[in-house]
Each structure stands twice: as C-alpha cells, then as structure tokens.
C-alpha cells in the first residue's frame, strides 16, 4: 500500500481517519465536512464523486470511480488544497459546485464583480467569517459563483488564477 505521498500518482482519499495510512492525507469524511461547514454544501452533493490526492495536499474530484489509476496525467478536476492551515477550494470547483452554497458567500454588485474577476483586491464590508469565501454575482436570473476570494481585515482579495481572469 501507499507509503508516502507522490506528486506523480493519484491516490484515493481514505474514507475515514480509521482507514488513513498516510499521515496528513485528508480523508473523504474531512473533505465532505469542510464543504458542509464552510459553505453549507452537504455531502449529498458529492455522493457520486471520488476524491484523489496527487502532490502534497492537492485534492482532485472525479465523477464515479476508477480502479487505481497509474500513469494518468489528470483525473477529474482539481478541487481543494489541503495540508495547510486554511484549506482552499479551486476557482473551478467553486464555479462548478458552489452554486448551492448558503454560507460564506459574498455577493458582489456589478462593479465589484468586474473588479474581482480582473484580479483586483477591494475594501468591502463583510460581517461573516474571514478566510476563503465564495464570491458570487447575479446574472441571468440567478446567483452564480465567480470564484474564490480571501477576506481579511476589511479587504476581499481576488485569488482568481491569472489564466482564468476576465480580460477587456
């Protein structure tokens, strides 16, 4: 079985801590709890998905299962960064799965949304938790997640990756 984490190989997350063989590897249970606690997105959202680690703390999400994948370049979508004090979801994961979030979602007006997706940091009022938030805006008759923001000391920092930013 797995003896150490590998940056070259996908390893399935253990279901629970009792099944954990590798220190510091997140468990499926922890991942589901984190999304539930942080964004109120319940485990039912991910019932049909499996979670994999490749590289230290990089968690990927796959719809369904594959038997031990070896020599694979990518498996589903990069989903979450663990093994650091504050876990951080990816922009793509938040766009795909963050629509139903009811906690730690900061709704931006059109000017703020424009600035956010161009990678600008902005001073904004927010009376919720600090840390990683889902930034969202209203479009085409509904709220839609834009990406991940980091809220600290009255400032919303955009952590939308360079390649995903909106350009003029």
């Amino acid at each position: 079985m797995t003896e150490s984490n590998s940056g070259q190989r996908f390893d399935r997350l253990p279901a629970t801590a009792a099944e954990r063989e590798l220190e510091n590897r997140a468990t499926r249970e922890e991942v589901l709890e984190w999304w539930d606690e942080r964004f109120a997105i319940g485990p039912e959202e991910f019932e049909d998905h499996s979670f994999w680690e490749k590289g230290a703390g990089k968690i990927w999400i796959l719809h369904g299962e594959v038997p031990s994948p070896t020599g694979i370049e990518g498996l589903g979508m990069k989903f979450l960064r663990t093994r650091q004090e504050h876990w951080k979801p990816t922009t793509n994961a938040v766009q795909r799965f963050g629509g139903g979030a009811t906690r730690n979602v900061i709704e931006l007006g059109s000017k703020e949304a424009d600035a956010f997706v161009r990678g600008h940091d902005q001073e904004l009022e927010w009376d919720g938790d600090w840390g990683y938030l889902i930034a969202a805006h209203e479009i085409a008759g509904g709220r839609e997640p834009l990406g991940v923001g980091l809220y600290l000391h009255g400032e919303l920092r955009s952590v939308v990756p360079k390649g995903r930013r909106r350009e003029d």
Binding site: H63, G71, R96, G163, E167
Partner: protein, 302 residues
C-alpha cells in the same frame, strides 16, 4: 490556396469553394450544458448586449456577433466555449451515452472532449488522450474551466494506446479526431497551407492509419468509432478508412448529417477505395459557411 487546386475534380462549384476559403469564419460557440442551460446562456448574452443567432441543427451551437467571445460573462463562467461549427459535429455523430466509457484519442485542446462529457451528463468516463504535454495542459485548463469531472487525461502515442493505466478492457466508443494537414482550417488560419507538401500528407496518412487501427482494437464489439479530420485530402480521409476496413473488424455505417455534406470519394489519384467509404461525409466551406471537414462513422464488428 494553390494546394487546393488538386481538389477541383471532386468539389462542386469550385469557384465558390475557393471564395469561401478566403472569407473569415463566423464566431461560433457551443453552450456547455454541464454548467448552464442554453436559455440561461442566451439570457446572459442578452444582458451583456452580445447578439447571437441560433444554429438550427444543434440548439447548443450559437453564432455570436462578437469576435471576442472570451470577453463575455458566459465565457468566464464556463457556460460557453469557442468551437468552430463543423467541429461540433463528430461528437454528435459519436453519440456517447451517459455512463459509457469513451476515448478521445487525439483530444487536445479539448473542445470535443468537453462536448462528449456534456453529452454524457458528466457521467461515465471520458479518457482524453494526447501525446503532447503542452497541448495537454491546454486541454486540462479547458476541461476544468468547463467544470468536467468525468474526464481522465492520459499522455500516450495513440497508435499503440494502452488501456492498462485505467484498468479497462475496452471502450464503448472512441473518437479519432486525427492530427492532419489542416487544409480545412484555412479560414481560421490563412497560413495553414504555406507548408503544404504531398509528402507531408502521405506521411500524416500513415500516422492516421495507425491511430484508427488501434482505436478499433480498443473498442468493444458493437461499439462505435468516429474518424474525423479538418482536411480535404482523400489520402488522409477515405484512404485511411479504406485501410482499416481491410485490416480490422469494422464497417462503415451511415449517419444522419445535419449539415450539408457530400459523400466520401471512392476513387482518387489512381486508387480505388471500398465502396462503403461513400457513407463517410465531406464538409466544404461554401456549403454551410464553416471550415472544411471529413467524418466517418464505423461500427466495430470484432
């Protein structure tokens, strides 16, 4: 353009064909139904004052009145993806079903992979393969932007593709959108024919035969393989299909073509091909105002 003169005997209204090849392509996108419905994508375009026109044959394909679809909100959200109209044909011909296992053998940069994944409602498994690391990184970027979670990415030479990394015995369907001489992309890339030589066409034809053969071997009996290129050369199209008909257990099957098309040619440059290659379809720029394309559907008979 001179390279295209060899096709005069097989293209009707050749002057119109050449004239179309000199016009730029319309700006066309495909709506990514994994992230948004067609109606919502349209509404967002309207809110952004971006005009669009429907394509009757495929409700998920829209022509936009901007040449920068990447600057719109629907693009940022991964609701639309720039994809030339005729390029969205092979995935619909492949007709993948939810829950199936599908290989996209030459997948980068991933537009067709994403379309296959969406047709499968992001279920089952789509294996997106390419042999070039740089192109694979573009594919991964697109797949993640479009929110796909049923795609596994592999980097192999498709001519001897191994199913071992995924512990699979066979795929239900395989798309071979083969590397080709790209003559049909002249409207998008006016330099496409600058380096044209017959020896390049013949060389790439050998690679295409190898990839299509392996695709058929990797598909279960009764499964489907779609072979497509964006080029006009019969050496890269009908000749490749003809070759695998002799070498592997498969047959060419008809498919309903929603775009105006012409049958595959059975004779070219002194060669004769199996008559069934007529069931393949050729797409010319002057018929649908698209790029040029070739598409053949094969059933694996084992």
């Amino acid at each position: 353009m001179e390279a295209l003169s060899r096709y005069e005997p097989i293209v009707d209204d050749f002057e119109a064909f050449l004239a179309a090849c000199e016009r730029p392509l319309p700006s066309v996108v495909r709506v990514n139904t994994i992230k948004a419905g067609v109606e919502r994508a349209k509404r967002a375009l309207e809110e952004g004052d971006v005009g669009y026109e429907d394509r009757e044959w495929n409700p998920r394909v829209l022509e936009l009145d901007t040449d920068k679809p990447g600057n719109t909100w629907p693009y940022f959200h991964g609701w639309i993806h720039g994809q030339e109209e005729v390029s969205s044909l092979p995935a619909t011909v492949l007709d993948p079903q939810p829950g199936e296992r599908v290989l996209d053998a030459c997948a980068a940069p991933g537009g067709k992979t994403a379309q296959i994944a969406a047709l499968m409602d992001d279920t089952g498994l789509v294996v997106a393969n390419d042999n070039n690391l740089g192109r694979l990184s573009a594919l991964r970027f697109n797949a993640e932007r479009l929110g796909l979670t049923n795609v596994a990415v592999t980097r192999q030479d498709a001519r001897n593709y191994s199913l071992k990394p995924l512990s699979l015995d066979a795929f239900d369907r395989v798309l071979v959108d083969a590397p080709c001489s790209c003559e049909g992309t002249i409207r998008k890339n006016p330099d496409a024919l600058d380096e044209w030589t017959l020896s390049h066409v013949e060389g790439v034809s050998g690679v295409q035969k190898g990839i299509l053969k392996r695709a058929i071997q990797a598909t279960r009996e009764g499964g489907t393989v779609v072979y497509s290129t964006c080029t006009f050369a019969p050496e890269e199209n009908e000749a490749v299909v003809d070759h695998v008909l002799e070498a592997e257990g498969c047959r060419v099957v008809e498919f309903e073509s929603p775009l105006d098309s012409r049958p595959g040619v059975t004779e070219w440059d002194g060669e004769e091909y199996d008559e069934s290659v007529e069931k393949a379809r050729r797409y010319y720029p002057h018929h649908n105002d698209t790029g040029g394309f070739f598409c053949a559907k094969l059933e694996v008979t084992g």
